[in-house]
Amino acid sequence: MIPERVLHPADEREAAQLLLAAQQAEDAVVPVGGATLLDVGNAPSRYAVAVATDRLTGIVEYNPGDLTIVVRAGTTLAEVEAELRPHRQFLSVQAPFPERATIGGTLAANVSGPLRLAYGSIRDAVIGTRVALPSGHVAKSGGRVVKNVAGYDLSKLFIGSFGTLGIIVEAAFKVFPLPLTRRALVVPAAGVSNAMDFAVGVARLGPGLLSLAVVNDRLAGVMQLEGASTIALLGGTAEATAELMAEICSQAPAQNVRVLDDSESDAVMQAMRDFPGRATVRLSARMSRPHVSAADSSSVEALSYPTIGTSFLFAPDWNGDNVTTLRRDAARSGGNVMVWRRSPALEHASTWGEVGTELTLMRAVKSVFDPQRIMSPGRFVGDI
C-alpha cells in the first residue's frame, strides 16, 4: 500500500502534533521505522499518512556503569550496538537487518532474536518508553532504572502493538556485558525431531547457553550446513565455555560436532538473526510436535527455538489451508500461528488466527490510546 504522504517529524513533540492533526483530519497513520517488517500484520484498511521516525534518532543517555541505555526510536539497532561495543556491552535484542531495523520498529513488531534463551524477550529488556499519541501528547511509562513499579507498565502494551496505539518515540533498555568468549557449535542430527530433542536435553546444562536453535534440512542447505542440526551458541569465560562445549559434545549422538571458527560463527548467527526478515509464517507453541510437523518438510525452510517454543518458517508454496492445518495443531497446546511476511499464496490467509474473549479487553486498550482508530487501522488482531 502506498500512503498519500510521508511525514518526517523532527522531534517527539512534532510527532505528537502530527498525530493530533491526522486525528482531526480523520487520516489513517502508519508509523514507519526501517521498513524491514512493515508488511507484517494485516494491510491497514486505510493509509493516508506514513510517519517516519528517521529524524527521531540518537542516543539520549548511556552510562555504562548503569547497564542501561536510552535511545530515540528511529535509531537503528546497528547504531545502538556501535555505541555499546566499545564498553564491552550489548543489546540482547536482535532483529533482521540491523543496519536498517530501528528500535521503534523492533519494539512494535515484538522481535526478540536468537538470544532470547539467555537474556529473555524484548519485553524483558525494556525498562521504559515514551510514546506520541493521537491526543497530541507524549506520554512516558516506566523510567530509566532497572527496577521500577511506579504507575501502570504501559510499555508492555506498546511492545508488539504494530503501530496501532501510537508512535514509540524513545525507549530505555537494560543492556548486558559481552561474554568474554563466544563459541558456536553445530550438532547434526537425524531429522528435526531428534535435533529438537537434543536441544531440549542440552538446555538442562543451564548457564552459558546463549542460544539453542534447530535448522531443518532445507535451511541448513541455505546456510551451508550439513543437514538438520542443532546450533548452540555458548558464552562466558574461556574455561567455562570449553567445559560446556565438552559436555555438549559428550551428549551428541554422533562424534561429528562442528565447532565453528569466528567468521563461520558470525555468519551462522547473522543468518539466524536475519531469517525472520524473510520468513512467511511464525509458529508459537511450547510443545514440540507442531514444530516438528512444520519443519519436517522439504519445501519449507525452518528455524526453530525449541526451548522457547517459536519457529520461523519460509514456506513460499503454502496457502491458507496449510496455515489452518498448522494452526489447529498448535492450538492443541495453547499455541498459535501467525502469517508473518505475506507471500502471494497466503494473500487471503488470516494473519493472526483466533483470539478469545480477551479481545474485548484489547479493544478497550485500543480505545484508551487511539479512540478515533487512526493508528494502522485493521493491521492488528480482531481488526484493531
Binding site: R123, S141, A150, K156, R204, R286, G309, I384
Partner: protein, 483 residues
C-alpha cells in the same frame, strides 16, 4: 430495620450462598483482623470473603457489583504500600484458601498456581524437579504469588533474574463484570496486546487474578556467596559499581550500613565487626568454573576498594550463615527503635554513593536515624527511618523525611518505588515521576477496565485516597506507614 442494615443482611446472605457461612466474615471483631497490611494504613472491610475457587471469585464479584461495593483483593497482607487495605470499606477477597498447585509441567518449565500460593512454598514444591521460582521478596515465607503479581514484586535475586513481571506467562482473571478469562499462557508469543504485562503490577486495580502461570527456572548448578566488609559505605558503593563495570552480573548484590550492622550483630551474631562502615553481600549463580573466575574478579575489585575482609561460602549452611544477617536485618532494627518507616526508592547504580550521602544528610537534618539495608546491585534503596511512634508529632517528621528521600531518588533519575508498589503510601509522589497527562493516560486505562472504579479504589493515583469510612482511625496516623 434501617436500609443499610437490610442491604447488609442481604449482602451477607448472597455471599454466604457463594462461599458458605464459615468463609464469610462480617462481625466487627472478625473484619478488623483485615484492616491493615505491612504498613500502618487502616481500613475496615464491610465483609471479608474467603473463596475456594475461581468460580467462587467470579460469583463474589457479581454480588459485590450488584451492591455497588468496592472490591479489594488480599494475599498474605505483607505488602508495604497499603495496597491491600480496604480504606473505602467494601468486599475484601482473601486468597488464603486458594493456594493449590494446579499444574506442573517439568519439561516446559511452567506451573499454574492459585493466587494464595505462598512464594517460598512454590519453590519448595518444584525443588525435587531441580526447578525454582526466581522472584524472592524478603517476605517470601509468607507473601503470596497473587500479591507478588499485584505489586510486581522483586527481591534480592531480581538483579540477575528480573522482577515478577518477567516470570508470569499467563493469568486467569476475573474482570469487574464478573467475566473470567485466560490472558497470555504457555504460548511464547501470545496474540494481541500484552494484557498480562499491563495487569502485573497494577495493584489489583484492573482485574482480579484467579490463576497464575509462572515460569520456572532450572536451579543453578552452583552458588557462591561472598561477604565483603568495607570501612565506609562510600567504598562499598564504589565496589558495587566496579563489579558491574567488570562485566559481572551477580545473582544478588546486597548492602548494609553500620547502623543496620550493629543491630544485626546484636540480634543474629553473624560475626560482623561492629566498626565496619558497610557490608556487601554478593551471590553468584552459575557453573563452578564460572563462579571461581567471577569470585576471583570480585575479590580483586574489593581489594582495590579498601576491603577489610572477604568471606566466601559455597555450601548451603555456610551461605545461609552469611545471609542470616541480611535476612534478619529488618527484624533486628527493632533493637534500635520501636518503629521504622521503610522506603523503596531506586536510583541509577552509578548514583548510589551520592544519593546515600544525601539520605544521611536528610536523616541528620530531621534528627532521625536512618538504617540502610538494600538491593545495591540494581540501585534499589531501602532507607529505614527509625522512630518511636509514642513521640508526639514524630509521624509527620518521619513522613516528611521519607518524602525528601524519595524526592532525591527521583531527582537522581530514579523511582519512588522499585518493588513495593505505590498503593496508598506513595500516591502523593506519583506526580514527581509522571506529568498530569501521563497520569491521565493511566487513569483512562483504569477506566477502560473498571469504569465505575470498583476494583481496589483509592490506590496508586494521586488524590485517590479512600474517602469512605475510616473507622476510628486518625488519618494522620494512617499516613505514616510503620512496621
Amino acid at each position: 430495620m434501617r436500609r443499610f442494615e437490610r442491604d447488609s443482611t442481604q449482602l451477607v446472605a448472597e455471599l454466604v450462598a457463594v462461599v458458605g457461612a464459615e468463609h464469610l466474615l462480617h462481625k466487627p471483631e472478625d473484619t478488623i483482623v483485615y484492616e491493615s497490611d505491612g504498613t500502618a494504613e487502616r481500613g475496615i472491610p464491610t465483609v471479608v470473603v474467603l473463596p475456594d475457587s475461581a468460580e467462587q471469585v467470579e460469583a463474589v464479584v457479581r454480588v459485590a457489583r450488584r451492591h455497588g461495593l468496592p472490591i479489594v483483593p488480599r494475599g498474605a497482607g505483607t505488602g508495604l504500600s497499603g495496597g491491600a487495605v480496604p480504606d473505602s470499606g467494601g468486599v475484601l477477597i482473601g486468597t488464603a484458601r486458594m493456594r493449590r498447585l494446579l499444574e506442573l509441567d517439568v519439561r516446559n518449565q511452567f506451573a499454574i498456581v492459585e493466587p494464595g500460593m505462598v512464594n517460598a512454598e512454590l519453590s519448595a514444591l518444584v525443588a525435587r524437579h531441580n526447578l525454582f521460582y526466581a522472584p524472592d521478596p524478603s517476605s517470601q515465607k509468607a507473601c503470596t504469588i497473587g500479591g507478588n503479581v499485584a505489586e510486581n514484586s522483586g527481591g534480592p535475586h531480581c538483579l540477575m533474574y528480573g522482577m515478577t513481571t518477567n516470570h508470569i506467562l499467563g493469568l486467569e482473571i476475573v474482570t469487574v463484570d464478573g467475566e473470567r478469562m485466560w490472558i497470555g499462557g504457555a504460548n511464547p508469543d501470545p496474540v494481541g496486546y500484552d494484557l498480562v504485562g499491563a495487569i502485573v503490577g497494577s495493584e489489583g486495580t484492573l482485574a482480579l487474578v484467579t490463576k497464575i502461570m509462572v515460569r520456572l527456572l532450572p536451579k543453578p548448578p552452583a552458588t557462591r556467596t561472598i561477604l565483603a566488609i568495607f570501612p565506609t559505605m562510600d567504598a562499598a558503593c564504589d565496589a558495587v559499581s566496579a563489579i558491574v563495570s567488570a562485566g559481572i552480573v551477580p545473582a544478588a548484590m546486597e548492602m548494609m550500613d553500620a547502623v543496620t550492622t550493629s543491630a544485626v550483630e546484636a540480634a543474629v551474631h553473624a560475626g560482623y565487626p561492629l566498626d565496619a562502615g558497610g557490608i556487601l553481600l554478593v551471590e553468584l549463580d552459575g557453573t563452578a568454573t564460572t563462579l571461581a573466575a567471577q569470585a576471583a574478579s570480585i575479590e580483586a575489585v574489593c581489594r582495590n576498594h579498601q576491603v577489610r575482609e572477604v568471606r566466601v561460602a559455597d555450601r548451603q549452611e555456610e551461605r545461609d550463615r552469611l545471609w542470616a544477617g541480611r535476612k534478619g536485618a529488618l527484624g533486628a532494627l527493632g533493637r534500635l527503635a520501636p518503629n521504622y518507616f521503610i522506603q523503596d526508592g531506586v536510583v541509577p547504580r552509578t548514583k548510589l554513593r551520592e544519593v546515600l550521602q544525601r539520605v544521611q544528610e536528610i536523616g541528620e537534618r530531621y534528627g532521625l536515624v536512618v538504617a540502610n539495608v538494600f538491593h545495591a546491585g540494581d540501585g534499589n534503596l531501602h532507607p529505614n527511618i527509625l522512630f518511636d511512634a509514642r513521640t508526639p508529632g514524630i509521624r509527620d517528621w518521619v513522613r516528611q523525611a521519607g518524602a525528601e528521600i524519595l524526592r532525591v531518588c527521583v531527582e537522581a533519575g530514579g523511582s519512588i518505588t522499585g518493588e513495593h508498589g505505590v498503593g496508598v503510601d506513595k500516591q502523593d509522589y506519583l506526580a514527581w515521576m509522571f506529568t498530569p497527562v501521563e497520569i491521565d493516560v493511566m487513569r483512562e486505562l483504569k477506566a477502560a477496565f473498571d469504569p465505575q472504579g470498583i476494583l481496589n479504589p483509592g490506590k496508586i493515583f494521586p488524590g485517590a485516597k479512600g474517602c469512605g469510612e475510616i473507622q476510628g482511625v486518625d488519618r494522620r496516623l494512617a499516613l505514616a506507614a510503620m512496621v
